[in-house]
C-alpha cells in the first residue's frame, strides 16, 4: 500500500478519493483534520516567556534580592537613600534584560521565505469540475493539475503526466530538471519519479496528481520543520557570559555575606552592616557588562560589513572567532563558479593534427547547447556558456536549425539535439562520459570513424582520467549523421544509438586567487577546512590540492558511502586529518555538521540552497552566499557573504577572534575598578572611616563614566599573530585575568584612590576613629574624591588594557581614537557629576579643588607604567626558549 507503488485505481482507493476528486464537503472536513496546506513555524517558547526569562536568571535573581532588601530597608528606615538604590538596581535589571533579550531575539524569517516558495493558487478537480482555489485550501486526496511554470502546492502522486519535467532544486539542491511519469515505481519513496513535491517547479509538460500530504507533513514542510526547530543552542559567547556572570555573582554574594557577618562580629549596627553588604555586592556586580558586550558586538558587526560579511545575529560576531571547523562548498566559494575550457582530448590516430575531429567536437559543443550570445556576451549555464565561448573562439559553426531535442537531466547526464547544418542533418550529443560512451559504436580517428575497440576504450579512459586528475570537469562529445525523417517519438532509443565518439573537453572552475592564502591562514589558525561538494571525487581532490587544502592522500567520502555509514564510523572518518566529501547532496550536510558538533567542534558551514537551511541553522555559524544563495538560505544563516568568497570567511574569523580578545580586555578594565570600589568599603567597615563611596556613585561609574572607554576597547583592531593561534579553549576570564584585573591593576588604583580620600579627610580635620554622618560636607567631599580617583585611574587603565602583552607605545597612544573620545567623555561626565548642581543632587557629590585632579594624573600615568613593566616581563617570558 505504498502510494508510489500503486497503479492509478490503487492510488485513488488508498487516498480515499475518486476520479472526480473530493467533494467540497469532504475537502472541507479534511482541511479541518489535516490543517491548512501551509508552511508554519513550529511552536516554540512564547516570546513573552523568553522575555520573562531575562528577569529570572541567576544574576537577575541576585539583583532582585538586593533591590528587595533595599526597598524593605527604606520601608523600615526611610530617608537613608535606600529607595533610590532599590529603584536604581531594578533599573539595572530592566536594562540588562532588554539588552540581552534583543541580543538573543531573532525574528524567524527563514520560514517566511520558505512560505513564498509555495503557490498562492492551484487548479484542482472537485466533484468532477476544475476550479482554482487558494493553495492553502488543498487537502490530502485532492486532484491537482500542473502545467509548465506552476509551483507544486503539496506532495502528490501523479495520475497523468505528459512530458512533465520538474525542478526539484528546493528539495535536492540539484539544478537540473527531472522527468516525471505516472507509472508505478518500486524503489524508495523519495526517488520515485511518479511523485511531485511541494515547493518544486514544473519546468515543462503537464500532469494531474492526487495529493498525498499537505503543509508541514510534506517533504518541504520537513525542511521548514528542521529550520525552525533545529537550534545550535547558546553561542559560545552567551555560554561564556553566563559563566562569567555566575562567577562574578558568586564572588559578589560571597563577599557581601562575608563582610555582613564580619560587620556584625565586630559590633557594627545591623543597619550599617547591611548597608555595607549591599554596597559591596553592588560594587562587585558588573551592571554594565551586558550592554557593553552588546554594543561591542554591534560595532564588530559593522566592521564585518565593511569586509563584505553581513552578520545577522550579534552574538554570531564572536562565534566566528571560535570556530574550529569550516565546512565549505566548492563551487562559487572556493572557486569562481566561472567555467573555462582548459583542455581538449582527441582520440589517437588523428594524422591531420586532429583538425577534423576538433572541428566536429566544437560543432557539438556549440550547437548541443542552450547558452546564447546576447549583446556580445555569452549567457547561460556556466558549463554551457564556457563550451560555447570556446567553440566561438575556435571558429566553430554555430549556425544550424534545431529540429529535435532530448533535454539534459541529472539521471541521463547527457543532452542530445538533432540539427540541420547546411545540407546535412546531425545528431549531436554531449554529457558525462559514462552515459555517452555506451551509446557510441565508433570513434572519430583521423577524420574517419573506427570501431570502438578495447584498445581505443583503454586510451579513452586514460585520457579521461588524466583530465579528471587535473581537477577538470569532463564533457564527452559524440555525433552521427542522420538520414531519415525526424522521429516523432521514442527519440532516446532512435537518436542516441550508434554515435561516433568525437572527444573530451576538460573544463575548469578555477580557484579564487585569494583562497590558497586563506586556506593557509586557516591551517595556521588551527581551523580545519572540510570541502563538501556535489562534484566528482577526482575533481574535488584536484581542486583541494591546488588550493592547498590537502597535501597527502585525503580520505574521500562519496554520497552513497555516507548513506551506508554508521554514526561511529562517520565520527572516526571525521577524525582523520584530511577529508573531502564528494558527490554530496545538501541533506548530507546536516548529518556531517551534526556529527562534528557532537564531537565538540564549533562548526561553520556554508550553503546556498533551500534545503541547506537546516544545516545552516544547526551549525554554530551558518554562512549563506549573498550572490548565489536563495532567500531561504540567507534568512537561515547567521552570516551572509556579500561576495560568496571563502577568503571573506577567514577575514571574518579574524574579526571574531579580535572581538573575543577585546571583550576580555574590557572585562579586565571593569574588574580593575572593582577593587578600589570594594576596599574602601572594607575600611569603612573595620576601620570606622566615613562611607567612602555611595552606591549611586558606584552606579555612576559602572553605567556611566566607564561605558564609552570600555566600548573603545571593543574597537581595538586585531592584534598581530591572532590568526597564528589555535582556536581558543579558555574562557573570557581565568585566574590570570582575575589577578591582573582585581589584584594588580585593582590594588594600584586602590592605593591612589585611598590616597586622595585620606588627603581630603585629613585636610578637613578628620582624625582616625572620628565618625562622620553621611550628610557631613567633609564625608561627602571625601566620597567625591574617591569617585574622582576611580575615574582618573580608569583613564590610565584604558591604555593599559588595550593589549595584554603589547606595549601601548608600540600600539600607538593615539591609534584608537574612540578610546581618546571615551576618555574625554569620561572626564566630562565626571566633571558634570562633581561640579554641576544636577549631578551633585543626584549623586550626592560636592565640588572638589583642581589640585586633586593634578595629584591623580601622575598616579594614572604610574599605573600605565607599572603595566608596561608587567607586559615587558610577559613578552620576555614568551620569547624565552621553552
Amino acid at each position: 500500500m505504498k502510494v508510489h507503488t500503486l497503479d492509478r485505481p490503487g492510488v485513488i482507493r488508498s487516498l480515499l478519493t475518486t476520479e472526480e476528486g473530493l467533494s467540497a464537503a469532504e475537502a472541507n472536513r479534511r482541511l479541518q483534520e489535516y490543517g491548512p496546506n501551509e508552511i508554519r513555524e513550529v511552536r516554540r517558547e512564547p516570546l513573552s516567556r523568553r522575555f520573562l526569562a531575562q528577569f529570572t536568571h541567576f544574576l537577575a535573581i541576585l539583583l532582585w534580592l538586593a533591590a528587595g532588601l533595599c526597598l524593605l530597608s527604606h520601608f523600615l528606615k526611610p530617608g537613608e537613600g535606600m529607595l533610590s538604590l532599590g529603584v536604581a538596581i531594578i533599573g539595572v535589571i530592566i536594562i540588562n534584560a532588554i539588552f540581552t533579550f534583543f541580543q538573543e531575539y531573532r525574528a524567524e524569517r527563514a520560514v517566511a521565505a520558505l512560505k513564498l516558495l509555495l503557490p498562492f493558487n492551484v487548479t484542482v478537480t472537485r466533484e468532477g469540475r476544475r476550479k482554482e482555489i487558494p493553495a492553502r485550501e488543498v487537502a490530502p486526496g485532492d486532484l491537482i493539475h500542473l502545467e509548465e511554470g506552476d509551483k507544486v502546492p503539496a506532495d502528490a502522486r501523479l495520475l497523468e503526466a505528459a512530458g512533465l519535467m520538474v525542478n526539484n532544486a528546493p528539495l535536492t539542491g540539484e539544478a537540473d530538471a527531472r522527468p516525471r511519469s505516472a507509472a508505478p515505481f518500486d524503489g524508495d519513496y523519495l526517488d520515485s519519479p511518479n511523485l511531485v513535491f511541494a515547493g518544486t517547479l514544473v519546468v515543462a509538460g503537464s500532469g494531474t496528481a492526487a495529493v498525498v500530504a499537505t503543509g508541514m507533513a510534506t517533504e518541504f514542510g520537513k525542511i521548514a520543520h528542521l529550520t525552525s526547530t533545529v537550534a545550535p543552542g547558546l553561542s559560545p559567547l552567551q555560554k561564556e557570559i553566563t559563566r562569567v556572570t555566575r562567577i562574578i555573582a558568586l564572588i559578589a554574594a560571597t563577599t557581601g555575606l562575608f563582610f555582613f557577618g564580619l560587620g556584625l562580629l565586630v559590633g557594627m549596627s545591623f543597619w550599617h552592616t547591611f548597608l555595607f553588604a549591599v554596597g559591596i555586592t553592588i560594587a562587585n556586580v558588573p551592571e554594565g557588562l551586558l550592554p557593553t558586550v552588546t554594543l561591542s558586538l554591534a560595532m564588530g558587526s559593522q566592521r564585518l560589513a565593511r569586509r563584505r560579511a553581513l552578520i545577522k545575529s550579534l552574538t554570531s560576531v564572536e562565534t566566528l572567532g571560535s570556530v574550529t571547523v569550516i565546512c565549505s562548498d566548492k563551487t562559487g566559494t572556493l572557486t569562481r563558479n566561472r567555467m573555462e575550457v582548459r583542455e581538449v582530448w582527441l582520440p589517437p590516430g588523428n594524422s591531420d593534427g586532429g583538425k577534423s575531429a576538433r572541428t566536429r567536437l566544437w560543432q557539438v559543443a556549440a550547437l548541443c547547447n542552450h547558452a546564447q550570445v546576447w549583446e556580445g556576451e555569452v549567457r547561460g549555464d556556466p558549463t554551457e556558456a564556457a563550451l560555447l565561448q570556446a567553440a566561438l573562439a575556435a571558429g566553430a559553426t554555430v549556425t544550424g536549425k534545431r529540429v529535435a531535442e532530448i533535454p539534459f537531466d541529472s539521471d541521463r547526464k547527457r543532452m542530445t539535439t538533432l540539427h540541420r547544418v547546411g545540407e546535412e542533418t546531425l545528431v549531436l550529443t554531449k554529457g558525462a562520459l559514462e552515459t555517452v560512451l555506451p551509446r557510441c559504436a565508433a570513434v572519430l580517428c583521423g577524420g574517419c570513424p573506427e570501431p570502438l575497440s578495447d584498445e581505443l576504450q583503454a586510451a579513452l579512459q586514460e585520457g579521461y582520467h588524466a583530465l579528471m586528475d587535473r581537477g577538470l570537469r569532463v564533457i564527452a562529445a559524440a555525433f552521427r549523421p542522420w538520414a531519415g525523417e525526424v522521429p516523432g517519438d521514442h527519440l532516446e532509443e532512435r537518436l542516441e544509438q550508434d554515435l561516433i565518439f568525437t572527444g573530451l573537453i576538460g573544463l575548469e572552475d578555477p580557484p579564487r586567487p585569494e583562497v590558497p592564502e586563506a586556506v593557509r591562514i586557516c591551517r595556521e589558525a588551527g581551523i580545519r577546512v572540510i570541502m563538501i561538494t556535489g562534484d566528482a571525487a577526482r575533481t574535488a581532490v584536484a581542486i583541494a590540492r591546488e588550493i592547498g587544502l590537502v597535501q597527502g592522500e585525503p580520505r574521500v567520502i562519496q554520497g552513497p558511502e555516507l548513506e551506508e555509514m554508521s554514526e561511529p564510523d562517520l565520527q572516526a572518518v571525521l577524525a582523520e586529518p584530511e577529508i573531502i566529501f564528494a558527490r554530496m547532496t545538501p541533506r548530507h550536510k546536516m548529518r556531517i555538521v551534526g556529527a562534528l558538533k557532537d564531537e565538540g567542534e564549533r562548526v561553520a558551514v556554508t550553503g546556498d540552497g533551500v534545503n541547506d537551511a537546516p544545516a545552516l541553522k544547526r551549525a554554530d555559524m551558518g554562512i549563506a552566499m549573498g550572490l548565489a544563495g536563495t532567500d531561504v538560505a540567507r534568512e537561515a544563516a547567521d552570516l551572509v557573504l556579500l561576495d560568496d568568497n571563502f577568503a571573506t570567511i577567514v577575514n571574518a574569523v579574524e574579526e571574531g577572534r579580535a572581538i573575543f580578545e577585546n571583550i576580555k580586555k574590557f572585562m579586565i578594565y571593569i574588574f580593575a575598578h572593582g577593587t578600589p570600589e570594594a576596599v574602601p568599603y572594607v575600611l569603612f567597615s573595620v576601620g570606622l572611616i566615613p562611607l567612602p563611596l555611595t552606591v549611586m556613585q558606584i552606579l555612576a561609574i559602572d553605567l556611566g563614566t566607564e561605558t564609552v572607554p570600555a566600548l573603545a576597547l571593543g574597537a581595538e583592531p586585531p592584534e598581530p599573530g591572532l590568526m597564528r593561534q589555535e582556536p581558543r579553549t579558555g574562557g573570557l576570564i581565568d585566574a590570570a585575568a582575575l589577578f591582573r584585573g582585581y589584584i594588580f591593576l585593582g590594588l594600584i588604583s586602590t592605593a591612589a584612590v585611598l590616597s586622595v580620600y585620606f588627603l581630603v579627610l585629613f585636610r578637613g580635620g578628620w582624625t582616625w576613629g572620628m565618625s562622620l554622618p553621611l550628610n557631613d560636607p567633609l564625608a561627602r567631599q571625601a566620597a567625591t574624591a574617591t569617585f574622582l580617583g576611580i575615574v582618573m585611574m580608569q583613564v590610565g587603565n584604558v591604555f593599559a588594557c588595550r593589549s595584554s602583552s603589547e606595549s601601548i607605545f608600540k600600539l600607538g597612544l593615539f591609534s584608537n581614537r574612540l578610546a581618546l573620545w571615551g576618555i574625554v567623555l569620561e572626564l566630562t561626565l565626571a566633571a558634570v557629576i562633581i561640579y554641576h548642581p544636577w549631578g551633585q543632587r543626584l549623586f550626592d557629590t560636592v565640588p572638589l579643588g583642581w589640585d586633586l585632579w593634578i595629584i591623580l594624573a601622575p598616579c594614572s600615568l604610574g599605573l600605565l607604567l607599572a603595566e608596561e613593566v608587567r607586559k615587558w616581563y610577559v613578552r620576555r617570558c614568551m620569547t624565552l626558549p621553552g
Partner: protein, 286 residues
C-alpha cells in the same frame, strides 16, 4: 513469558466518519494480519450523529471489511449507538479484546494534555492495550522507517517490543531506537556538552532488552542518541531521518509535572512531522 505470549489475538479498530480514522485503522489491519488476530471494526454512533456521518462511517467500515477479507483476516464489522467509551469498553470485555486502535483528531491534539477528549478517555479507561494513531501523512501509512523514542524506564517492555517488532515485520520497516538523555548542567558551565561516546553511559538498560525483542523477530534496527528537549529532539530526528512513523509510549506524567517541565508526548503530538502511534500497553496473559 515468551514473545509469542504477547501476540494479540483480538484487535479492535474504532472507526468514525472521518477519513483519518479509516486510514489509521489500516495499521490495525496490518497488525492483525501479522499476529493472525481477529479484527473487530467498530463504529459507535453518538446520539447526535447525522445521517450523512453515519453513511460515511458505514462506507469506511465496508471498505475496511472488504480489504480485511481480501487479506483473509477473520473480521467483523460492528455498528452501535451510544457513548463510544462505554460501548467500546463493553466490547472489549465481551470479546476479550487485547488491543484497541483509535485515531486522534486534530482538534484533540490542539487541547492541552488531551483533556476532555475521547482519545484520552480511551487511553485512560480501557482495560486493554490502546494504540492512538495521529495521522498527518495519508500517503505513508506503509512505513519503511519507524522511530521508537525511548525514555529511562519503561513498563511492560516485552509487550512494547512485540508491538513494534510486529509492526516493523509486517511493513518490512527498519526500526530506529532513539534516546535523548536529559541535559547535564553545571553551575558555571550551563549545559554540558557530551560526546557520543560519553552519552552511551546514559543509554537506558531497557533498550538492550528491547533490542533483543527486535532481534528475536529479525527486525532490522539501529540506535541513535540525541540531546536537548525531548519532544523537539524526537521531532527533529523523525524529520531528519525521514521516518514514516513514530511509535512512542503514552505519557506517564501527571498534570502538575507536565505543567512544570512540559510533556514530550504532547509536544510530539502537536508537531509530529510524520504519522504517530501513542501506545499504552496493558496486555495481561496471566
Amino acid at each position: 513469558m515468551t514473545a509469542e505470549a504477547f501476540c494479540y489475538r483480538r484487535i479492535l479498530a474504532a472507526v468514525n466518519e472521518h477519513s483519518n480514522s479509516e486510514l489509521a485503522a489500516r495499521y490495525a489491519l496490518s497488525l492483525a494480519q501479522a499476529c493472525g488476530a481477529r479484527l473487530s471494526l467498530v463504529f459507535v454512533a453518538q446520539d447526535r450523529v447525522t445521517p450523512e456521518a453515519l453513511h460515511r462511517a458505514e462506507a469506511s467500515l465496508e471498505r475496511l471489511f472488504t480489504e480485511a477479507a481480501e487479506r483473509s483476516l477473520e473480521v467483523e464489522s460492528i455498528v452501535q449507538r451510544g457513548r463510544p467509551l462505554d460501548r467500546i469498553r463493553e466490547l472489549v470485555a465481551e470479546r476479550g479484546i487485547d488491543l484497541v486502535f483509535a485515531a486522534t483528531r486534530r482538534e484533540d491534539v490542539a487541547r492541552r494534555y488531551f483533556t476532555r477528549t475521547q482519545a484520552r478517555e480511551l487511553m485512560l479507561h480501557l482495560p486493554c492495550s490502546v494504540a492512538l494513531v495521529r495521522l498527518v501523512h495519508p500517503g505513508r501509512v506503509h512505513p519503511r522507517r519507524i522511530l521508537v523514542p525511548f525514555r529511562g524506564h519503561l513498563t511492560r517492555l516485552e509487550e512494547r517490543g512485540h508491538f513494534v517488532a510486529r509492526l516493523a515485520q509486517v511493513f518490512g520497516a527498519q526500526v530506529t531506537l532513539f534516546h535523548a538523555p536529559r541535559s547535564l548542567t553545571g553551575f558555571f558551565h550551563g549545559e554540558l556538552h557530551l560526546r557520543p561516546a560519553e552519552r552511551e553511559a546514559f543509554v537506558p538498560e531497557d533498550m538492550e532488552k528491547f533490542i533483543r525483542s527486535l532481534q528475536h523477530h529479525q527486525v532490522a534496527h539501529d540506535r541513535r542518541l540525541g540531546h536537548g528537549r525531548v519532544g523537539a529532539a524526537i521531532a527533529v530526528e523523525a524529520a531528519l531521518r525521514r521516518s514514516d512513523l513514530i511509535v512512542m509510549g503514552a505519557s506517564e506524567r501527571g498534570l502538575l509535572r507536565s505543567l512544570l517541565s512540559g510533556n514530550p508526548v504532547e509536544e510530539v503530538l502537536q508537531e509530529s512531522p510524520c504519522n504517530l502511534i501513542i501506545f499504552m500497553p496493558r496486555l495481561d496473559r496471566s
